[in-house]
Amino acid sequence: MRDSIFFQLILINFFSNFKKHLVTILFSTLLLFLLTATLFISDSIQFMLKSELNAQSDFVAKRVLGGDFVPMPKSYFEKIQNTIGISEANCRVIGRYFFDKSYWALIIGIDPLEPQSQKILEKILDKKSAKALLTQKVMLIGKGVQEYLQKHYFQNFYSFFTLKGKIIKVKVLKMLQGFGLNNIILMPKNLAREILGLLPNQCSDVAFNVPNKKEWNNITNKIEGYYFDIMLFNKDELLKAYSDVFNFKGGFFLSLYLSSFLAFILFLYTQYSFISSFEKRQIAIYRLLGWSIKRVLWLKLLEIVLIIFISFTLAFVLAYFFVFSLNAPILKLIFLGSDNLKIFSSFYPYIDFSTLFSIFLLFSLGFFTATILPLWRAAISEAKEVL
């Protein structure tokens, strides 16, 4: 690079026509920034969802009545638990608690003595909190819940209203860290039952694992055969459903984006079609000194490569900072509904390089398509015209 005359001349030409290029770089950086930032967001969300789903149990069985999910008798759980091939079956107590109309948190009841089907719960439960959960009325809360409590002047407790009108005071044991836990309350199972209004012999649903993936179909058929009011959901289905949503949203955004990209191409075309007499003179001097049309054209194209490279780097750095440091204000609303917003407090810095590569491919191809004709027209400037 340092020894290349070509490279040296590209830099010289770049700074000679700096004003013209600056406009281009500003526009393309802005455009690329927008696209890169959205892709960072959607990649990051998909990654977080995926890792969260991986930490979930393989199956959840829910009971349906009147087209809605309803609590399930414990006998269902016992039957499922005794099916061969199933492990870590858990009679879950889980449900939304509405603090007021606009804010709710997900209460998850846990029993530290039971095997946990959700791997993430095992990680959270250290000895101290396990002991506390067994003996006291305590809860572990996510960051979002804590913020709500502080806003409403609850220091380290909250008084829950049960459905029967009773008030239960629960102490905050500690805060939960990690993504996906923003809006969650963990508390002893029986306490959760009381607050959510479940009977002692009821579960919200049953979660379980089936370690042998080849048996998944079998088990599904078997359990759905036990009871006709049961519906089974597995991890893969959830994953596909989530992917579909983000695939759709990302694609929709991209389609909109492409129309502005088209406008950008037209802008580039006109921008580079205008060749100043200053530029024309420069090229004519190159031609006079024995630069062929082909060589001049390549020099000009490499100048474009430099511009693409600068815009791309700038956009990448800006988007990274915007999404992962500033937490993508405004832009994240496109992807996250208010419900999802509560689950994720911040974006996990995950980058899918293949997406970056594909943007780079599309963008540079568009750039070249827009500029090749004007550049060629500049390159054929005749030397004799400036003599």
């Binding site: 992917s243 990302g250 694609g251 492409l258 049309i293 398509t369 090749i372 004709l373 390159a379």
Partner: protein, 322 residues
């Protein structure tokens, strides 16, 4: 609306194809003019204009070649990723076989790159001479290439518009597995004969390259490509996956196998394409290009070494063959 068409990767891919078509269309118009009016001995302003347009034409086609290579790699990557959205598909094999347009599309895209490489080769020979003797041939040849691109676009549109997210497809084990003792290999070969043929043809092609026997290369290389495809799919692949029943040319593009598929198939196509172009040069233009030959030899050698070492490593690790 078809859900696949809202996939980000598909949108990007189709946009790239559109831009490539745009570039090629400009080049096509110039090529058409060159075929009609090119006369290097003429001194008319028309010829001077045409000569200038010729440089644009060359640059356009070179750009087309450059981006087509990345576009084809990207295409394979896209269909590999699409298996998440298509029920039943475990890798690109299921996705590409989801309708009858997929396989011809992929083959056409590979052939397209071969044509562009051949074009670029003629271009180099042409520009070397002071009289530009092959410009007309080059331009006529590009018209054929342009038609191939039109065909690709036709298949592209049909393939993605007919890709259904609700119809289950087969996975690679059903597509490439031996069902009920059926032999999927050509000429009723068994694995042993296939391998003998594979190494024999490699030696023939490699030897012909060293001995510069052009017509032999022209004959043996396509055959080697054909046999190599079956050898990788039905024999070497099983060692990559370390599973005797896993026969698939596409799964090796996945992360689990360290994306080795790109290297294996890339080196095979690069090697065979360059060997063929070298032979065409030698027969048609009487030009023997050392660089081309060297690239072909290195790529083919690399291809055979990678494939064979998978088998060798497996044997050293486990003491048995699959």
């Amino acid at each position: 609306m078809n859900k696949i068409l809202l996939n980000q990767k598909v949108i990007i891919y189709l946009s790239i194809e559109t831009l490539l078509l745009l570039l090629a269309t400009i080049a096509f118009f110039i090529a058409f003019k060159i075929v009609k009016n090119w006369d290097i001995n003429s001194f008319t302003p028309n010829q001077f204009t045409l000569e200038r347009e010729n440089y644009l034409f060359i640059t356009l086609v070179q750009m087309l070649l450059f981006f087509s290579i990345f576009d084809t790699i990207y295409f394979i990557y896209v269909i590999d990723k699409l298996h998440l959205f298509i029920p039943g598909a475990m890798c690109a094999a299921g996705v590409i076989n989801a309708n009858s347009f997929g396989v011809p599309l992929l083959l056409l895209k590979l052939f397209f790159i071969f044509l562009l490489l051949l074009w670029q080769n003629i271009n180099i020979l042409d520009l070397r001479e002071k009289t530009f003797p092959y410009t007309k041939i080059k331009a006529s040849f590009f018209i054929i290439i342009f038609l191939a691109l039109i065909a690709i676009i036709y298949f592209d549109i049909n393939y993605f518009f007919h890709l259904k997210t609700n119809l289950p497809v087969s996975c690679c084990s059903t597509l490439y597995g031996q069902l009920e003792g059926q032999n999927p290999l050509p000429f009723n070969l068994d694995t042993k004969l296939l391998l003998i043929l594979f190494y024999l043809l490699f030696i023939v092609v490699f030897g012909a390259l060293i001995g510069e026997v052009a017509f032999l290369i022209l004959l043996a290389t396509p055959l080697f490509l054909y046999i190599a495809y079956y050898s990788v799919t039905y024999f070497f692949g099983t060692y990559i996956y370390e599973l005797p029943t896993h026969k698939c040319p596409f799964c090796m593009f996945q992360k689990e196998y360290y994306y080795i598929g790109y290297l294996i198939w890339g080196s095979l196509f690069l090697g065979t394409f360059f060997a063929l172009i070298w032979a065409i040069d030698a027969l048609l233009f009487k030009i023997w290009q050392k660089k081309l030959k060297l690239i072909a030899q290195i790529s083919l050698f690399l291809f055979v070494i990678i494939c064979s070492s998978y088998v060798a490593f497996y044997y050293f690790k486990n003491g048995v063959f699959l």
